[in-house]
Amino acid sequence: MFGIALKSLRSKWRDYIVLFVGLIISAAIFYMFSAMANNKAFLESNSIVSQISIIFVIGEILLGIITFVYLNFANAFLLRLRQSDYGLMSMLGASKKQISSLLLRETLSIGVIATIIGIIVGFALTSLSSSYLIKLLGVELTHWQSISIKSVVITLVFFTVLFLLNGLYNQRRLRKQDTLTLLLANKQVNQPKVHAKVDLLFGLIGLALLIGSYALMPKVASIGMAGFVLILILNVWGTYWFISRTLKMITNGMRQSSFSMRGLRSFINGQLSFRLPDYQRMLSSIAIMFALALGAMSVGQGYYRMLPKLAESSYSMTAVYDTDKVKTDNLKDVTWQQTYHYVKKGQTVYFNGAEFNQNKLPARVPEKNGSSMQTKWLTGDYIRKTPGSEYTLEGIANQLLNQSYGAKVVVTQNQSKMPANTPVQSLQLVKVADMLANEKALAHNANIEEKVNNTKVEFAAGSYAGYQQTKGIFGGIEFMGVFLGIGFLAMLAATLMFKTLSGVADDKQRYRILSMIGTSNKQITQTVATDLGILFGIPMIIGVLDVIFGLKMFAPLMAGENNIYLGFGPSLVGILVLYLIYYILTVWMYRRLIKN
C-alpha cells in the first residue's frame, strides 16, 4: 500500500510541487521563529526586560494557530487533488479502509518530507533574514545562531502531529462521501449573483466605511480611545466590504462599459468577478495582515530611528563621568561641560548648592503647554526650595550608587554644610551637540567609566545611556515584531498562492478556449500576470493605504507629524520585495500549470 502512495505522488507531481513549496515555506518560517524563540543567549543578551519571553510565547502560539489553519488548507488541497482518484479506486473495488489508509500514508509522507526540507531551507532563511534585519534595523545582535537542535525537534514534532491530525480529519471526510461525489469533485460553477441596485448601494457603503476610517485616523488624538475603537471597526468592516461589495460593484460596472471591450479586459474582469465570492475573506485578511506587518515595521523602525532624538530631548546632558580617567577631549562639538563635587553617605548623595549657584545645572522640564521639553538652568537655591526639582540630580545619584532607583539627594547651602569626614569626589557632566556623531567616543568613555566604577549602562544617567537602554529594549522587541509580521505575511501570501493554484483546473479550461479562438501565448501570459496581479494587488494597495493614513495616528508617539514616515520607505521596500517574490512565483507556477 505504501508503494501505491508513492506511485500516486509521482503521477501528479506538478500539483504536488505546488503543495510542497507551500509546506516547505511554512515549515521554514516556523523553524525560523522557533530558532529565535529558543535561543536563550540571544534573547537574554538583547532584551533587558524579562517580559520579552512572554511576547515570544504569544508569538509562538499565534504562529502555531496560523500554521494550523494553513496546514488545514493545504490538506484540503491535497484531498481535492486526490478525490477523483479515490473515487475511481473505490469504483474499482478498493475498500474505504484501504483508501483512507492510503490517504493517511500519503499525507504523512508528504508532511514529513516537506518539513525536513523546510527545516533545511529554514537554516538558510534564518541566517539570511537575520542579517537583512540586522542591517535594516541597525540592531546589534549577539549570540545569534541559525542552527538549533531544539528547534529542529520542535518543528518536526509540531508538523508531524498537525499532519497526523489533518490526515485523520481528511480520513473522516473521505469516509463520509460516497463514490459518486468523489468522482465528480470540483465540477461546480460558482456564479456570482448580480442584484445591480443592492450591489451598488453596498458597494458605496463599503467605500464610505473605508474612506471614513482613513479620514478619522489623523484625528485619533483628539477623539480618544473610543475613536480608536471606532476606526478599527470601520477599517476592518470597510476592508471586508470594499473587497466583497465595492469590487463587485466595480466588476458589475465594468461588464457594461466600453472599457472592457478591448483585448482580454472582459475576460480578466470575468475572472475577478468569479473569484471574489471565494476569495473575499482571504483577501481581506491579507490586506489587514499586510497593513499590520507594514505598520508595525514602519512605526518600529521610525521609532527606532527616533530613539536618539527622544533620548536627547529627555536628558539635559549627554553623559555623566564619575572618574577623571575619562577625558572628554575626544568629544566633538561639546556645548556644555561642568565639573561638580559630591559626597556619598549610605543611600544619600550630597551636593554643594553653592556650586550650582555659580554654575547652574541644566534640567529638562516640560513646557507650560505640556507638549514638549525645554532646558531650564537651575541654581542651588532654587533646587533646595523647590521640591521635585532635584530629579536630575537623583538620576545622577543612582548612577553614582550603581542602582536603578532609590538614591536620596541632599543639596546643601554651601561647602560647610556638606558631611564631614567623608571624601569629596568630583564628577563631570558633558553635553554634545550631536550624540550620534560622537557615538564611538561616547562608547569608549562609557567603557572606561564601567571599568573604573563598574557603572552599568542601565543605571547610568545622560542621553547616551538612555539611548543605549531603549535601544536594547526596543531593538529586541522590534526585531521580533518585524520577524513575526513578515512571517505571518509570508504565510498568508503563501495561502493566496495556494488558493490561486488550486483553482487552476477551472482556469485551465478557460485559457484553453482563449487559445483556441486566437489568443497568443504572449497574450495569455500577460493576462495571467494581470489577473493574478489584481488578486495580489488588492490587499497590497489597501494595506499600503491603511499604513499611509494609519501612521498619522502615531504622531504623538513620534513627536510630531514630521517624523511619522521615517520608517515607512525602507519597510515598504522590504515587504514589497517579499510580496513580489510570491507574486512572480505564483505567476510562473500558474503559467506552467495551465500550459499542461
Binding site: V189, Q191, R255, S258, S260, M261, R262, G263, L264, R265, S266, F267, G270, Q271, S273, F274, D506, R510, I513, L514, S515, M516, I517, G518, T519, S520, N521, K522, Q523
Partner: protein, 250 residues
C-alpha cells in the same frame, strides 16, 4: 475554375499508446477544399475525423504532411501568426460549445473582436447582428450555465461567426441539438455559406446534417474511402444518397 482555399497534403497522425504501440489515426490523407465550399466529413467513431479537423484548424499538429490555407503552410506559422489566423480567418463551432463560463453570452461572442481590438461600435453592431440571426438576443446578459444545450450551441456559433471569418470549422455542430434546433443550425450555416461565401468544413456522424453540405468525404481508418457530391440535387434526395452510402459502409 475555382480557387483552392485549403489543401491537405499527405497528412499522417499517429499516437504512441500507453503500451508503447504506435497507432496510426490518419494515413497519407490528401484533399482540398475550394473557396466558398461546404464540405462534410463523415465516418464511424475512431475513423479519425475529429483528429483531422483539429489538424486542419491548427489545434493539433500532424505527425507529417502539410496543411496549406490561402497558400500558407499553417504549421510553419509563428505563435503570433497562428493566433492571428485563429482569431481572424477562422471560426470554430465545437461539439461541447467551449464557452467561457465566467463571461456572459455577450462577452463570449465579443471575444474574437475584442482580441482584434475592434472599435466598440463595430463590436456592438456585429454582436447584435449575429445574435439576431441566431435568435439569442434575449440571452446576451446571461451566463452560459444558465442556458440550455441548444442555446449554448447557438452562442458558440455566434462566436465563430461574429468576426466574419473566411472559413468555419464545425465539430459535430448539431451533436447536442434536437432535430428542430439541428435543422435551424444547418439552415443557418447553409445561408452564410451561400450568401456570404464563407467556406465550411464540418465533421458529423449525422446524415441529416451532412446532407446540407455540397460535398461529403467518408473517412475509414484514417483514409478517405469515398467522396460524394450533391451537385444540383435537392437536399432531400442527397440525404437519401448519404443514407444509402452509410448503409454500404455498415
Amino acid at each position: 475554375m475555382t480557387e483552392s482555399l485549403l489543401i491537405a497534403n499527405q497528412l499522417n497522425k499517429s499516437y504512441l499508446s500507453a503500451a508503447g504501440v504506435q497507432q496510426d489515426v490518419l494515413h497519407d490523407l490528401s484533399f482540398s477544399v475550394d473557396k466558398g465550399e461546404f464540405v462534410a466529413i463523415m465516418g464511424p467513431s475512431g475513423s479519425g475525423k475529429s483528429t483531422l479537423l483539429n489538424i486542419l484548424s491548427t489545434l493539433m499538429a500532424p505527425t507529417s504532411g502539410t496543411v496549406t490555407i490561402n497558400n500558407k503552410d499553417i504549421w510553419q506559422l509563428s505563435d503570433k501568426e497562428v493566433s492571428k489566423f485563429r482569431g481572424q480567418d477562422m471560426g470554430f463551432i465545437f461539439q461541447n460549445y467551449n464557452l467561457i463560463d465566467s463571461l456572459t453570452v455577450q462577452e463570449n461572442i465579443s471575444l474574437p473582436l475584442t482580441l482584434q481590438k475592434a472599435s466598440v461600435k463595430k463590436i456592438k453592431q456585429a454582436v447584435q447582428k449575429v445574435a439576431q440571426m441566431l435568435h439569442i438576443e434575449e440571452y446576451l446578459n446571461k451566463y452560459p450555465s444558465e442556458l440550455s444545450g441548444g442555446q449554448q450551441q447557438r452562442v458558440g456559433a455566434a462566436r465563430a461567426l461574429v468576426h466574419n471569418p473566411a472559413l468555419i470549422f464545425g465539430d459535430e455542430p448539431t451533436g447536442a441539438l434536437d432535430s428542430e434546433n439541428a435543422r435551424e443550425m444547418m439552415n443557418y450555416l447553409t445561408n452564410i455559406n451561400a450568401n456570404e461565401g464563407i467556406s465550411i468544413i464540418m465533421v458529423t456522424h449525422d446524415a441529416f446534417s451532412a446532407s446540407f453540405a455540397s460535398r461529403i468525404l467518408f473517412l475509414t481508418d484514417g483514409e478517405i474511402t469515398k467522396t460524394i457530391n450533391r451537385d444540383n440535387q435537392p437536399r432531400e434526395v442527397f440525404y437519401q444518397q448519404v443514407l444509402s452510402e452509410l448503409g454500404n459502409f455498415n
